[in-house]
Symmetry: C2
Subunit: 144 residues, 2 copies
DNA sequence: GGACAGTACATGCACGTGCATTCAATGCAA
DNA sequence: TTGCATTGAATGCACGTGCATGTACTGTCC
């Protein structure tokens, strides 16, 4: 009565389970470490990183929330609250967008950039630890 | 002042972002679809699947919660409550473990197996959709 | 036997998330 | 101009999660 998966389906399931395992390992460790040492969640760090990248691109260029949204995998409401937390922590600034007054532009504060720079080594270290080729990942080329 | 990532680090970050994107796409869609049509969350389905596999292995073999825990990526408390939900929905049964009365053994009910069998095609379909080679995944071999 | 550390699971609590809704601002049409 | 659908973001709410703790049971050492 229980139908079996086709080989293609079995492959997908295996791929999915490995993805789940890697994601869980990395996300869990990232959240714990970044949280303990820098008061940042995984997504908080991710947002800071996008802001740093955005600012580095056009110097004083500030990102709109609507630009940020697609790059972090969060609902609109979760992103809104995450930004509120970052603002309360003094890491970003919310300002009205001049060209479209519905929008909000985000700017990284000095403290925000510093926090990011401090946290980045740990972030990379965790990625190295969790993605760097254990967990039975056959055929993963680290440099590719 | 902002130090750049080494090539190895940049690769890790790219790998991490792709993993995040795939995980978000699949997990979000799975949760929504399974939830809407079968009243199951992603992790609920995962647990049912482990129970089916466990039962198929030794027929009437019932899994202990402590055996289940390492395979699903949840905290012990989250798993406990998830099982409570499944039990309330009539999909699994909790019973005291004879050999170690601290432990709980889980058995899949008929309704639980049916629900799983019904949900599985949708689960596979979502995996196919989200893992089956879009999202700029260069070099992924679908059958591998 | 009794005391005690360790294990298995449940529960109180705080928190982050998604959904639905709300409010403000925009663009377009009449 | 007014009216209306649409978009950007914030908020009420319910819910799932992790951490810390509690409770019950096991095994060990004395």
């Amino acid at each position: 009565m229980a139908e079996l998966d086709s080989p293609a389906e079995a492959g997908l399931v295996a791929q999915w389970r490995e993805l789940l395992a890697r994601h869980a390992a990395a996300a869990c460790l990232l959240d714990r470490e970044l949280g303990d040492r820098f008061g940042l969640g995984m997504s908080e760090f991710e947002v800071l990183e996008r802001l740093v990248e955005g600012c580095d691109a056009g110097d004083g260029h500030a990102l709109r929330v609507s630009e940020l949204a697609p790059t972090v995998h969060l609902s609109q409401s979760a992103l809104s609250r995450l930004i509120a937390r970052l603002e309360k922590a003094g890491l970003v600034t919310r300002a009205m967008c001049e060209s479209d007054r519905r929008g909000i532009v985000l700017t990284l504060t000095e403290a925000g950039r510093e926090r990011y720079e401090q946290a980045r080594p740990l972030h990379r270290e965790v990625l190295e630890l969790t993605l760097g080729g254990e967990l039975g990942n056959a055929g993963e080329v680290p440099s590719a």
